[in-house]
């Protein structure tokens, strides 16, 4: 019999026992809905976690530091400790340590897949608003940080340019300044904030061999008595300096500077380009002072970075970029392995949720078997008639298979729709709960197209599998016995 005719007969047979077949189909739908609801939650959680983590920029970032000297006492200060990806055999021996300088920075920036290279700038400053001041930490932020979650619900805006004299305040800092000035935090926007900080200036050529002084930054004033700390045997001088910034943004929640560089929790953020030009004294400078070789070398070879951070065009580029940088003679670190573990974790979670969801579908498949077995009993004589009129065993088997498949298909489609509504209800309920807890609603539920189609296909496959035994029984029915059946 042709498939079209089989479909017509199957559809007629399904309509004839409408209530029973509808209930069976409903059973499949509930099973599929359970599967979809479970997996959509797992997929949604994974998407939510991945999205949040990717938006931090951690997973497409590589952190670069100079290799540690094997001869360095204590071994501290450089590299990334136990997590570093250091390959001493890549370039020279342990005595040949390549400095992380401007030349290396340009070389790294030119690597395929690298879209941004920046140094970490993190320093302590005295922040003054009118007559009110307080000590705070300041961090430089690259332009790519504008996509960070912390800026989603900020008041005000991100920096207008990489070297604009603008500052974004952290939540605590803005609260503190606003209380001092006796105004609302939002009123800080547009006000001027002065940062007073120690600036690092290269020493003249008479004490160190070659490094030219940094060009002056517009609007930066050196305080009187700036040379007081300038001559303590280093390759640079420390000069108290201050600069005035316009407050353009206030972070409400989150922290844009979290990362292996340890920039998290700063009170104020300024554009990274400007921060580099300001050359504030950082913690790494102290390490340089303590490092004998660096103290003599920094002055002779220009700017040296304690570390650099680079952003790639995606997590897939991280491995190749890391390999290239290691070949250049530097240590690297990325969170790629963490991502892998995260994916593994969610794969396990999805599997478990899928198994629990499939249990309902397994129960539903018993319903299909029951329905088809009942149908065979009821239609025993009909099967005999069909065979007497020329139906082959294959025709009868296909007829029952199609009936099982149609129930699976309808159950699958209806189940996906039901699962979608259940998911929406869970999402809705979660949003209300989170709102009551004072947390913004999060989308932790997702039904991607592959899940919808996969669930329907799974329902059809399970239904067909459930139909194998009944269909075979129907096909192998003895027509003489079937025709005698009352």
């Amino acid at each position: 019999m042709k498939t079209g005719d089989l479909m017509e007969l199957a559809s007629r047979n399904l309509r004839e026992a409408l209530l029973r077949n509808t209930l069976t189909t409903l059973g499949i739908a509930v099973g599929v809905a359970s599967l979809v609801a479970m997996l959509s939650l797992g997929v949604g959680l994974q998407a939510f976690a991945s999205q949040r983590l990717e938006r931090t920029g951690l997973f497409d970032s590589v952190y670069v530091r100079p290799r540690q000297s094997a001869a360095r006492p204590g071994g501290g200060g450089g590299g990334f400790g136990r997590q570093q990806n250091d390959d001493s055999s890549a370039v020279g021996g342990p005595d040949e340590i390549r400095p992380l300088d401007d030349e290396a920075r340009k070389e790294i920036a030119g690597l395929p897949g690298v879209i941004e290279v920046y140094s970490e700038v993190h320093f302590t400053a005295q922040a003054s608003l009118d007559d009110h001041g307080q000590l705070t930490t300041v961090a430089g932020l690259p332009p790519s940080s504008s996509t960070n979650d912390a800026f989603n619900d900020m008041e005000g805006r991100f920096f207008s340019s990489p070297d604009a004299a603008e500052v974004i305040l952290g939540a605590d800092m803005s609260q503190s300044l606003a209380e001092s000035a006796n105004i609302a935090p939002a009123a800080l926007l547009g006000r001027m904030l002065t940062l007073r900080f120690p600036q690092r200036q290269m020493r003249p050529a008479d004490s160190a061999t070659a490094a030219p002084p940094k060009p002056p930054v517009a609007g930066v004033a050196s305080a009187s008595g700036a040379t007081a700390m300038s001559n303590i045997g280093m390759g640079f001088s420390i000069v108290p300096t201050e600069k005035t910034f316009t407050i353009v943004g206030i972070i409400v929640s989150g922290d844009p500077g979290v990362g292996p560089g340890g920039l998290g929790g700063s009170g104020a953020y300024i554009p990274l380009g400007l921060a580099e030009q300001l050359a504030p004294v950082q913690g790494s400078d102290l390490r340089e002072v303590m490092d004998e070789s660096s103290a003599s070398g920094s002055a002779s070879s220009g700017v040296r970075y304690a570390s650099l951070t680079l952003r790639t065009d995606g997590p897939s580029s991280v491995a190749s970029v890391e390999a290239a940088i290691k070949a250049m003679g530097f240590s690297t670190f990325s969170l790629l392995d963490v991502t892998r573990n995260l994916r593994l974790l969610f794969a396990i979670l999805d599997t478990l949720l899928g198994i629990f969801g499939s249990l309902a579908l397994a129960v539903a498949s018993l319903g299909i078997i029951n329905t088809l077995v009942m149908a065979i009993l009821e239609r025993r004589r009909e099967i005999g008639v069909l065979k007497a009129l020329g139906a082959s065993n294959r025709d009868v088997r296909r007829l029952f298979f199609i009936e099982a498949g149609v129930m699976g298909l309808l159950g699958g489609v209806f189940g996906v729709a039901l699962g979608w509504f259940i998911g929406r209800a869970i999402h809705f309920g979660t949003a209300i709960y989170l709102k009551r807890q004072g947390v913004a609603a999060q989308d932790i539920w997702s039904v991607p197209w592959w899940l919808a189609f996969g669930a329907i296909a799974f329902a059809v496959v399970v239904s067909l599998a459930a139909g194998i035994v009944p269909a075979s029984r129907a096909a192998n029915l003895d027509p003489v016995q079937a025709l005698r059946y009352e």
Binding site: M1, K2, D5, L9, R12, E16, R381, E382, G384, V385, L386, K387, A388, L389, G390, A391, S392, N393, R394, D395, D478, P479, V480, L483
Partner: protein
């Protein structure tokens, strides 16, 4: 072995059933040749084995031993698929209990063999109408079996048996569920299919149709059949050509 010209030839055919420790010899070493175009009646008491023999000829059942040739082909050696095709293309079967599918209309019941034979859709309506015309049920084509009398149901079953234009009609007690008047009508209809000129005379397609009638009514057999074969205990007890 010659089977040319024979619609059926059963050679030493047996069909034994095992019921517990007892072996039932429904058909026992029976040989029978039915010529094309012949009208043969298998006569016998209930349980004599005549219906079992009919099922063997139809390919609905397989012999325990022996061979059955239909139009020269050994159906006892055919696969299940080949047997199904044989039934679909060569044989029309009419049952005592009509066996119309109750949820289908007459038209749909009659169309069923065409579906099974994979007849093109476009050709089906004309074939269905032709079959219903032959049994004078065209006006009832949209009715369900439950809305028809017993005679009409049996006529519909005959239309269903004829729609694939088989060369052989097997009728198992076709009047068994009917009153004598209606039974007579049905027998006249079958006679008309065997000898079209004696009925409406309008249909050449039914000319020469082989008819195998299973009945326990000797009167019917004597009135309509060319040959009467009396079956008893699974064997041919008597054979009479008329």
């Amino acid at each position: 072995m010659t089977t040319n010209g024979a619609a059926f030839e059963a050679i030493d055919v047996s069909r034994h059933y095992r019921m517990g420790d007892t072996v039932v010899r429904a058909v026992d070493s029976l040989s029978l040749k039915i010529e094309r175009g012949e009208y043969i009646a298998l006569l016998g008491a209930s349980g004599s084995g005549k219906s079992t023999l009919l099922n063997l000829l139809a390919g609905l059942d397989r012999p325990t031993s022996g061979a059955i040739f239909a139009n020269g082909r050994d159906i006892s050696a055919m696969s299940a698929e080949e047997l199904a095709r044989h039934r679909s293309q060569t044989i029309g079967i009419v049952f005592q209990a009509f066996h119309l599918l109750p949820k289908m209309t007459l038209e749909e019941n009659v169309e069923l063999p065409l579906r099974l034979a994979e007849t093109p859709r476009a050709a089906r309506p004309a074939r269905v109408r032709e079959a219903l015309d032959r049994v004078l049920l065209t006006a009832r084509r949209a009715h369900h079996p439950a809305e028809l009398s017993g005679g009409e149901q049996q006529r519909a079953a005959i239309a269903r048996a004829l729609v694939n234009r088989p060369s052989i009609l097997l009728a198992d007690e076709p009047t068994g569920n009917l009153d004598s008047k209606t039974g007579e009508e049905i027998m006249q209809l079958i006679e008309g299919l065997h000898h079209p000129a004696s009925a409406s005379g309008a249909d050449a397609a039914a000319e020469g149709m082989t008819v195998v009638l299973v009945t326990h009514e000797q009167g019917l057999a004597e009135r309509f059949a060319d040959r009467i074969v009396t079956i008893s205990d699974g064997r041919i007890a008597h054979e009479e050509r008329r």
